[in-house]
């Protein structure tokens, strides 16, 4: 079966890959492009572990067909840190101990970045509802929410 050639932009760099029409963006990211930071938890869009940003929109990569990335921009967890500097969200996750096993962390980091971009001063409730698509089984979410609110506060100070 002929494969589809896809040209796209991933984490700011041009990328191209060949894929079958039914392959998901998650499969291509992980298995063909070596970007295994995007995690697979369910393949049904329920857990958020594979959260990526596609043309500015937060999506689960398991529900995006790989050919849909054609001509678009994809951001994964590997593109969050700038050079050797962690983002405020990443730094606050570390400081607050907002991870235990860490499998959900990349998805939460990607989603939290998006939350703060859309809403620089989220309330706790807004953060909880925005992040309700990301499952964490270890933390009870307490430290995750604190880390996200703290990161938002730091980012507001940084841009003020």
């Amino acid at each position: 079966m002929a494969k589809i050639r896809v040209e796209t932009t991933i984490n700011g760099e041009e990328a191209e890959f060949l894929c079958a029409g039914h392959q998901t963006l998650l499969e291509v990211l992980r298995d063909d492009l070596g970007l295994t930071g995007t995690k697979e938890g369910c393949t049904t869009g329920d857990c958020g572990a594979c959260s990526v940003v596609l043309d500015g929109r937060l999506v689960p990569a398991c529900l995006v067909l790989a050919p849909e990335a054609e001509g678009r921009t994809v951001q994964t967890v590997e593109g969050i840190a700038q050079g050797s500097t962690l983002s405020a969200v990443q730094q606050k996750f570390l400081e607050h101990g907002a991870l235990q096993c860490g499998i959900c962390t990349p998805g939460f980091v990607v989603a939290a970045e998006k939350l703060i971009e859309k809403n620089p001063d989220p309330t706790e409730e807004e953060a909880r509802y925005f992040l309700a698509g990301n499952l964490c089984r270890c933390t009870g979410y307490d430290k995750i929410i604190r880390a996200v609110l703290d990161a938002a506060a730091v980012m507001r100070e940084g841009t003020a």
Binding site: R30, L35, T36, G37, T38, K39, E40, G41, C42, T43, T44, D46, C47, A49, T76, V77, E78, I80, A81, L86, Q90, F93, L94, E95, H96, G97, L99, Q100, C101, G102, I103, C104, T105, P106, V109, E124, E125, A127, R128, Y129, L131, A132, G133, N134, L135, C136, R137, C138, T139, G140, Y141, D142, K143, I144, I145, R146
Partner: protein, 763 residues
């Protein structure tokens, strides 16, 4: 980083510099950037993909399997069934409160005589793609003799019920059925005089309780990569709670020489007990041996739900009696637990925990292990204890109501303390139950006002915690930094705890200690990451090894000064000359390390421990919730966990354990359950329909760490991981009663059930 000073009560006035601080965990950076490699992230050149083929029946005899059509599919490299493994008979070997059966473990990987639950694997296919393997699996022809499935405790115990394991007679204590039975074992603890005890009681409360099977719900599906090499040696990379366990299980199940197997633990994306059993690894290594290719196996979420991990569903009856002054006088239980397809529910631990937090002189605790055609249960965080506490702690709440007593005061009056005897035999050493109850009573949460349709619940619980075997190796680098190597997969921040303990002993900053989790060839044996044992037992090995390193460093300083070893003390990372040699001053660890090659070579020390006991941890939970009388929806408004940690090594991760256990327990209480169709197929094998708590379901979870030193650990540490899931089921149920006036004795307390209960109460 701030150096937190602290003291351990009961351990003298030791001032800690590193212990009790909150450093950033060493493995955190790789986990927030996506670099950390979990089970599915490993690849090898030439790797192919293995998948299981699973039974479409919950109970069926396998008459024959024909794999020939699947083997001919282009891209297929190997197909295996139970025939590719040595035939190991089922045989239960007791190991303390539970046991092990390698025949059952093998049949959990691949069914042999029978498929015992819907989704039970009976073959595995390895092919150049996952897709080819799955398609080829559909071509495997099986001749089935479909049998009636046993899908409930009631059906399993019914006269004439289909028997899962022919020839299986009930073992253990108490009145037992004659002949073959689905009851595999009975546990009985008796003490005092039950009838006399209940006749002394002024108030007796009793109830029937039911809880459904629930899953651990780790976010990472099971995954491994296996490579059997030309010389018969093997490497396995596995997401597991214990790679030494994987090694020994793979060897036993496949008949391979254990010496030929090396297992490397990947980062593990949650386990909660469910990643102690091996499911994939024996199949992956045999597929690799047969195909000559590295084989990767990963489960889908659907497979995780159907064929791994759940903890038991239960049917329970319990009663407790008290005098008018609140003194508990007698209790009795009959706990029936679903084991799934093979013997081994946690009913023994349930019996050992139910009512154990209280002095009750007259008791009869009976527990029954029942097999039925559902997935084989695995350990789940304090296995059995939350289920038992759901019954016991509701009855105590009811008793408090009938006696018009504050529920914490009633517990304080009857709480077990040091010297008290557990109903299963031994006496407790120093425990912090009363202190924890008192802290909960004094907590602002307990005094806060609550509104209409709202209720507050309180419940308690404990877990024994485990000791078991651990080892550690500590080495000093030539710049005075150190490496600490252990063999326990880090499931929730244990690397940081190991580094903190080594740093404390060395007297250096925790950032100067690099913690590693080694493979089975590079570190001494460690039992699994489970039983809340790693910070306690592996931590003890780390402390012991580091103390040996300190002795070596003192000796090196003595050599450098040419003085007696006895004249060298170790203070804050420095060798300090004392006695008549005080004029020598001091040498820092950096100075000593720089001279290692001149003073005897590298400084390395190892230690191993095998503590038979651990030191139980008690917890008390408070919950405020609101029930919407129109919809039956329950909202958790406020939740507080108070628990004895003995000594919190890294308080952030202690709090995290408290919060995570509470959240899992809240999910179990309110929403989580397996749903089955009439044929025994799981109907909700995905996260959309198996509804675990999400961020918007929960409030912040407040925590209070109580520290009553564990006399068995040099710093007073108690394991903290499991206790937090013990009280929540009853805590939420007690709060529901306070809010609605209804006693919920069946889980989950989902909106339809709550609505029904409220409506039937008002009608």
């Amino acid at each position: 980083m701030s150096a937190a000073a602290d003291t351990t009560r009961g351990q003298g006035e030791r001032k800690f510099k590193q212990i009790g601080s909150r450093p950033i965990r060493h493995d955190g950076l790789d986990k927030v950037t996506g670099r950390a490699r979990f089970g599915a992230d490993y690849t090898l050149p030439g790797m192919i993909h293995g998948v299981f083929v699973r039974s479409p029946y919950a109970h069926a005899r396998i008459l024959s399997i024909d794999t020939s059509a699947a083997e001919k599919v282009p891209g297929v490299r190997a197909v295996i069934t139970a025939e590719d493994f040595p035939d190991i008979a089922m045989n239960w070997i007791p190991t303390g409160p539970t046991g092990i059966d390698f025949g059952a473990n093998q049949r959990t990987v691949l069914a042999r005589e029978k498929a015992l639950y819907h989704g039970h694997a009976f073959a595995a296919v390895a092919a150049t793609s996952d897709e080819i393997a799955r398609e080829a699996g559909k071509l495997i022809k099986v001749e089935w003799e479909v049998l009636e499935p046993v899908l409930s405790i009631e059906a399993a115990l019914a006269p004439g019920a289909p028997i899962l394991h022919e020839g299986q007679e009930t073992q253990g204590a108490g009145d037992k059925p004659e002949g073959d039975s689905n009851i595999t074992n009975q546990v009985l603890f008796e003490g005092g005089n039950l009838d006399a005890g209940f006749s002394e009681a002024d108030v007796i409360v009793e109830g029937h309780f039911e809880t459904p099977m629930v899953h651990q719900g780790y976010i990472e599906p099971h995954a491994c990569l296996a490579n059997c090499r030309e010389d018969g040696t093997s490497e396995i990379w596995a997401s597991t709670q214990g790679h030494f366990n994987v090694k020994s299980e793979v060897a036993l199940i496949t008949g391979m020489d254990p010496n030929s197997i090396k297992v490397t633990p990947t980062e593990i994306g949650g386990g909660f007990g469910g990643k102690i059993p091996v499911y994939l690894e024996p199949a992956a290594i045999v597929l690799s041996r047969k195909s000559g290719r590295p084989v990767k196996m990963t489960m889908t979420r659907d497979e995780v739900f159907r064929a791994t991990g759940p903890t038991s569903g239960s049917r329970m009856w319990a009663r407790i009696g008290a005098k008018a002054d609140g003194t508990f006088v007698a209790c009795e239980t009959r706990l029936e637990f679903e084991a799934g397809a093979f013997r081994g529910s946690p009913v023994g631990a349930a019996c050992m925990t139910v009512f154990t937090p209280y002095e009750i002189p007259n008791f009869k605790i009976l527990g029954i292990d029942i097999v039925l055609n559902k997935p084989r249960v695995a350990a789940y965080r304090a296995p059995g204890a939350p289920i038992a506490a759901f019954a016991a702690e509701q009855l105590i709440d009811e008793l408090a109501g009938k006696l018009d007593r504050d529920p914490i005061d009633l517990r304080l009056q009857n709480a077990i303390e040091e010297g008290g005897r557990a109903k299963y035999g031994p006496r407790f050493e120093a425990i912090g139950f009363k202190q924890t109850l008192q802290a909960a009573k004094n907590h602002p949460h307990y005094k806060a006002k609550i509104g209409a349709n709202q209720g507050r619940g309180v419940a308690a619980g404990f877990w024994f915690n485990a000791g078991m075997q651990s080892s550690a190796t500590v080495s000093v680098n030539d710049d005075g930094s150190a490496v600490v190597r252990t063999g326990n997969p880090d499931i929730g921040g244990s690397r940081a705890s190991m580094a903190l303990m080594a740093a404390e002993e060395l007297g250096i900053d925790v950032t100067r200690v690099r913690p590693l989790v080694g493979d089975t060839d590079s570190v001494g044996y460690c039992d699994v990451t489970g039983g809340s044992r790693v910070t306690y037992a592996t931590g003890m090995a780390v402390i012991e090894a580091t103390r040996q390193v300190v002795d070596h460093l003192r000796a090196r300083a003595a050599t450098m000064w040419d003085i007696e070893l006895d004249s060298v003390e170790w203070q804050d990372g420095n060798a300090v000359a004392t006695n008549g040699d005080a004029d020598k001053g001091s040498l820092s660890i950096e100075e000593i390390a720089r001279q290692m090659r001149m003073t005897g070579g590298p400084v390395v020390a190892s230690a191993s421990v095998n503590p038979p006991a651990a030191g139980p941890a008690f917890g008390v939970h408070l919950c405020d919730l609101e029930v919407d009388p129109e919809t039956g929806v329950t909202r958790i408004l406020r939740y507080t966990v108070v628990q004895d940690a003995g000594k919190a090594i890294h308080p952030t991760y202690v709090e995290g354990q408290f919060q995570g256990g509470a959240a899992q327990g809240i999910g179990w209480a309110l929403n989580e359950e397996y749903l089955w169709d009439a044929e025994g197929k799981v109907e909700n094998s995905g996260f959309l329909d198996y509804r675990m708590p999400v961020a918007s379901d929960l409030p912040m979870i407040d925590t209070q760490i109580v520290e009553v030193a564990n006399p068995l650990h040099p710093y007073g540490v108690r394991g903290v991981g499991e206790t937090p899931i013990v009280p929540p089921l009853a805590t939420v149920a007690n709060a529901m009663h306070a809010a609605t006036g209804v006693r919920f004795r069946t889980l989950p307390m989902s909106p339809p059930r709550v609505l029904d209960a409220i409506e039937s109460q008002s009608s």
